[in-house]
Symmetry: C2
Subunit: 154 residues, 2 copies
DNA sequence: ATATATCACTTGTCTTATGCAAGTGATATT
DNA sequence: AATATCACTTGCATAAGACAAGTGATATAT
C-alpha cells in the first residue's frame, strides 16, 4: 500500500488494518504461508496469481517492517531465507478464514471451484458453514506453528 | 480493483474475495454503512480518509455491480440515492469485525486510539478480546438491518 | 419565477503504484 | 571452471489513484 508510512489516512481500526495489509498482494502472501506452507521468495513467486518480482520484494519488505513477517536464514543454503509469521501475523488467520468463508458461500465462486484439491474444497465449504470459527482457527494456528501448513497431509 | 472484470487472477477463495473488495476503499465504504449508518454519496465523501469524488463513484458502481450494494431512491429528494448492503454485503460483517479486532489488539493502534468516541473504543476492545464473535456479528447485523447502525445510541 | 445552492456525479491532468522484461551479485551445483 | 539457481534490483510502459474544476438535475430562498 504505502512504503514509507508515516501519515495514516485516519486511525479508524478498519483503516489501520487496511493500511497494513489492504493491498492487492499482502494477504495472498500470508495465505501462501498459512494454507500452503510456502516460506521462500521463490515459492511465493510461483503462486497462481503471478506477482511481479519487484512487487513481491516490496511487499515482503513492508510486511517485515510492519512486524507481520520475519526472515530467518536457511540452515545450509546461504542464498535463501525463510519467511515466517510473527504473532502479529498469526493474528491475521481469523481474517483469512473469514475471506475464505465469504467466497465459499457464493455461487459465483462455487461454480469455478472445481480446480482445487478435494481437501481444499471440503475445507472451504466447512469454513463457509461454520458459525463459530474458534476450532478452525485453532487448527490452522497449530498447523502453521508446527512449521507445517493447513492444506496438507499432516 | 478492476473495473471490467472478466479474468480472475486465480479462483482461490482468498483471491476471489480480494478481487471483490480488496482495494484501498471498498471496505471503508462498507464500514461507513455498517458502523456509522452512512447511506449517501455525500456522506461517504465526508469520511476522514478523504476519498476522491471519481474514486468514490467508481467504487460504488463496482460494489453495486458485484452485488454487494444496492441503490434505492430517496423518498422526497430526487437527487439522492440511498446505498444499502445486499445479503452478500451483510456477509462481509464478520470480515470487518476481524479487521477491527486485529487492529484493536495492537499497541500501535491503541496509542493513537484516543480520538474515537468512548463507545467506539469500548467496542473495539470488546471485538479484540472476544474469541467467539457470533454475538457481536448478530448485534451488528441486527442494527444495520433495522436501518440503524452500530456505533450509535439505539 | 428567478437566482442560487446542493447533490451526485464526470472530465482532464498529474502523480503514484503496479506490471513486465532484463539485468546483477552471491552462492550452489556439475 | 562453467553453468545454474536464488533473491533480488533497475528501467521503462501501463494502469490506478489524487486533485481541481466542471456539469446537469433538482431543491431551496427571495
Amino acid at each position: 500500500m504505502k512504503e514509507s508510512s508515516n501519515s495514516l489516512r485516519s486511525n479508524c481500526p478498519v483503516n489501520f488494518g487496511l493500511e497494513n495489509f489492504g493491498d492487492k498482494w499482502s494477504l495472498l502472501i500470508i495465505r501462501d504461508i498459512v494454507f500452503w506452507g510456502k516460506k521462500t521468495y521463490g515459492e511465493f513467486l510461483k503462486s497462481d496469481e503471478g506477482i511481479s518480482t519487484n512487487i513481491l520484494a516490496a511487499r515482503l519488505a513492508s510486511l517485515e517492517k510492519e512486524g507481520i513477517l520475519t526472515k530467518a536464514p536457511h540452515a545450509t543454503d546461504k542464498r535463501t531465507d525463510f519467511y515466517m509469521l510473527t504473532e502479529k501475523g498469526f493474528e491475521l488467520i481469523p481474517l483469512l478464514v473469514e475471506i475464505v468463508a465469504w467466497s465459499g458461500k457464493l455461487a459465483e465462486w462455487q461454480e469455478n471451484s472445481g480446480v482445487g484439491t478435494p481437501e481444499q474444497i471440503r475445507q472451504v465449504k466447512r469454513f463457509a458453514k461454520t458459525q463459530d470459527k474458534r476450532k478452525i482457527i485453532a487448527e490452522i494456528r497449530e498447523a502453521v506453528s508446527k512449521n507445517s501448513y493447513f492444506f496438507a497431509p499432516r
